[in-house]
């Protein structure tokens, strides 16, 4: 998401780059383009107008005209205002003092509520909660089946009742929560149009029965100018406490997201991308603003890396490298699993500054290539993984057969490993004091793809 908005913004700012001085006219021109980019990104019309007015006032009044780096100055103003628009700081999910969390999930049809329920449940579970999900979508055919299937994938129980109203299901679920001491309940509801009063009344009844500590609106990132009236209507009836932005993995420009926060004041708490149940992130306005402006999001990337890398293993790896023992295919496997745990390749790379540009030049990360490498290594015996020198022609043929690849591909992989080891040796050659830098380099050079 946000990529094309980011592209447009950058091309507008490129015009300013390197100019010593800016005239009022030049700034206005850039802001006109910014306005078009925002409208094309489905940012609400009024929000856009106010935003542009504000940026223009600040840029003209003060800093930019006199600054020595007017492009940077204007960019900074835009970033600050963008962050302010999206709500300054991240607002994590609120766990009440009782420790008992109840989340009500609402939204339009097809917004991605059921999937978001499972993703949130998985996240809470990983944070140490014991969640249960309640299936209250009694309308869409097989919606309950869907939640049950997702529940079994992540090993979270799903509560539902046959032939009961959503209100009743929510009520009974809360009783179960009390009795069996679950620490979090997530209540899935049917999608509904905010114009359908009968169904909105029903939602109010469900809310009353469940007494949720959080009421979330799941909003599709592709929503157009409607986003605001939808959010307003849900907020008016339900007092929303947060928004989950779904389907951000398309090329939606996310304007809706920006507008919802600006108009209703309801913070965006999470965003959800793609089908993988772990593709669920906290929403950090400042980092997103940085991504929109094409500056990547190294902070999230580092956090993700830290979350998946096992401290012990990293130390072991470091000491072996310093001892010049060389890397093995087992290390390869570890790295692969780290990357996969961090999310899809595209998401991970998307956080690196400049990746947008690479993508627009036609670079396509290929998840399957990682799988291929994994298959090859997994087709090796433990001895072979530890010592690639064992690999003779006959072994390579066997591995090729086992992994559905070719001997050439295996040769390539072996060559990559040797190259990496050579590079390591040069880096570590007697340079023990530069320990920290070495470690960083390892992480960067170790990606098993070119």
């Amino acid at each position: 998401m946000f990529e094309s908005l980011s592209e447009k913004l950058q091309s507008a700012f490129d015009q300013l780059r390197g100019r010593g001085r800016l005239t009022e006219r030049q700034i206005k021109d850039v802001l006109r383009e910014l306005r078009m980019a925002m409208l094309e990104a489905d940012v609400n019309y009024r929000v856009t107008r106010d935003f542009i007015d504000k940026v223009q006032r600040r840029a003209l009044e003060s800093e930019s005209l006199k600054s020595l780096t007017p492009d940077q100055q204007t960019l900074t103003i835009v970033k600050e205002e963008l962050t302010a628009l999206m709500g300054e700081t991240a607002e994590p999910i609120q766990v009440p003092e009782t420790g008992q969390l109840t989340v009500l999930m609402t939204g339009l049809n097809g917004a991605g509520k059921t999937t978001a329920c499972a993703k949130l449940a998985l996240r809470l579970k990983n944070e140490g909660h014991t969640p249960i999900m309640a299936a209250c979508d009694v309308y869409r055919p097989a919606a309950i089946d869907q939640l049950q299937k997702l529940g079994s994938q992540i090993d979270v129980p799903v509560f539902t009742l046959e032939r009961a109203t959503p209100e009743k299901i929510a009520q009974e679920c809360m009783r179960v929560v009390q009795k069996e001491s679950y620490s979090a309940a997530i209540i899935d509801t049917a999608g509904r149009m905010q114009t359908n009063e009968e169904l909105m009344d029903e939602l109010v009844a469900v809310k009353k029965a469940a007494q949720p500590t959080e009421t979330f609106l799941v909003a599709d990132a592709t929503v157009g100018q409607e986003a605001v009236s939808v959010a307003e209507a849900f907020d008016e009836r339900l007092d929303l406490t947060g928004v989950i932005l779904s389907k951000i993995d398309g090329d939606a420009r996310g304007g809706a997201a920006i507008s919802i926060r600006a108009v209703t004041g309801t913070p965006i708490k999470f965003f959800s991308s793609g089908e993988r149940l772990d593709a669920f992130e906290e929403f950090h306005p400042d980092r997103i603003a940085s991504r929109i402006l094409g500056r990547g999001d190294m902070q999230t990337l580092m956090e993700k890396a830290e979350a998946v890398i096992d401290e012990e293993k990293a130390k072991d790896l470091e000491s072996r490298i310093l001892a010049q023992q060389g890397l093995t295919f087992n290390d390869f496997l570890d790295q692969l699993s780290h990357i996969q745990k961090m999310g899809s390749l595209e998401q991970v790379l998307g956080m690196i500054p400049g990746f947008d540009k690479m993508k627009s030049l036609g670079f396509q990360p290929d998840e399957r290539q990682l799988k291929r490498v994994e298959a090859i290594v997994l087709s090796m015996t433990p001895e072979e993984r530890n010592n690639h020198r064992l690999l003779d022609a006959s072994r390579k043929r066997r591995i090729a057969k086992g992994s559905g690849s070719s001997v050439q591909q295996i040769n390539q992989l072996v060559q990559q490993l040797s190259q990496m080891n050579r590079a390591m040796k040069q880096l570590t050659g007697g340079a023990a004091p530069r320990k920290r830098r070495t470690k960083k380099r390892i992480i960067r050079h170790n990606f098993p793809f070119k």
């Binding site: 409208l39 097809g110 055919p141 097989a142 009063e197």
Partner: protein
């Protein structure tokens, strides 16, 4: 009146359709009702801008531009419409803002073009492939379409080409039961192209008139998933000449400008012949129909105006434009 169609069972785990108790209204009336929210906001706004007696000035165009963009008609299309209006106003010449209304209606009608409908004839079976991003209402649209054809006396087969989403096949199966259509599926995770292969042979053997194929929702930016879709269409064409005869892109009316990207990318992968615009019963303005037709060239063929089984309608451009601009009495 729409509410009577929502007669939702309070007990039971299936979608319930209450019989339509309200007197049958003309399609136009229903569309008008469905679009009533849209009309209130949009028409009032346009009405206020294009007042009788107001002189045409730059402010009028600016306000019109805002109204159209807020209706999701898209920046490019809106700018185009404004250009055309300016030209007409200058050439005719028009002096009063209210005179711009017929001109605007005519321009939008021209973009939308003549009505085009899904018309299954021949093909034995006539194969309809439904594609789109996640959550736009593909499965529901297929269910309603099948019900329409079976009620017209045709025999229909539904194929569960969404082997990915949990319980997608079950959802379609319930719809096929409701519509009285045959149903083909494989296990979850199966290759959708192989479902299509099965479905075509089975529909042929049963002598079904129509075969409607559901596919998994996919983001149009996912190269491998779009390739999978290409394969589905290819396999259909290989097994049956001319198939798919109709490839329907299902679009959500609440979608903004992203619908244009969706249209373009899907068109690159499969020969999309028309679009179904769903969820027009919310407050969505549906202006995206105009943008998609103009910027991608895909005609809107069907619209979903409610949740009832008969709330899938043929798209009539002239009615749509009239309903959009209908003035309050």
């Amino acid at each position: 009146m729409l509410r009577s169609l929502f007669g939702r069972g309070k007990n039971g785990s299936e979608e319930k359709e209450a019989p339509n108790e309200a007197p049958k209204q003309s399609a136009f009336q229903r569309l008008k009702n469905a679009l009533s929210k849209t009309r209130q906001a949009f028409t009032q706004q346009v009405g206020a801008i294009l007042q009788v007696g107001r002189a045409i000035d730059e402010k009028v165009y600016e306000e019109l531009e805002e109204a159209l963009i807020c209706a999701d008609a898209g920046v490019e299309t809106t700018l185009y419409l404004m250009d055309r209006l300016r030209k007409t106003a200058k050439e005719t010449p028009l002096r009063e803002a209210s005179q711009l209304l017929p001109a605007l209606k005519a321009e939008i009608a021209e973009i939308l073009g003549a009505a085009e409908h899904v018309n299954p004839s021949g093909g034995s079976p006539y194969v309809i492939l439904a594609v789109g991003v996640n959550g736009v209402g593909k499965t529901t649209t297929i269910g309603k379409l099948a019900a329409r054809y079976t009620s017209q006396g045709m025999s229909a087969t539904l194929a569960a080409g969404d082997t990915f989403r949990a319980a997608a096949a079950e959802q379609l199966e319930i719809w096929s039961g409701r519509a009285g259509a045959a149903f083909i599926r494989q296990q979850e995770g199966a290759d959708p192209a192989s479902v299509v292969y099965d479905a075509i042979h089975s529909a042929r053997a049963r002598k079904s008139d129509v075969l409607i194929i559901d596919t998994a929702g996919r983001q149009h930016t996912r190269v491998n998933l779009m390739q999978e879709l290409e394969k589905i269409a290819r396999v259909a064409g290989r097994e049956l000449d001319g198939a798919p005869h109709e490839t329907l892109l299902v679009l959500d009316a609440t979608t903004g400008q992203n619908a244009i990207q969706q249209g373009k990318r899907f068109l690159e992968a499969v020969p999309v012949t028309g679009a179904a615009l769903t969820k027009l019963d919310g407050s969505a303005k549906g202006g995206v129909a105009v943008a998609v037709k103009r910027e991608v060239g895909i005609p809107i063929k069907l619209i979903g105006v409610g949740e009832g089984i008969d709330d899938l309608r043929d798209f009539e451009p002239s009615e749509f434009v009239d309903a959009l601009f209908e003035q309050e009495a």
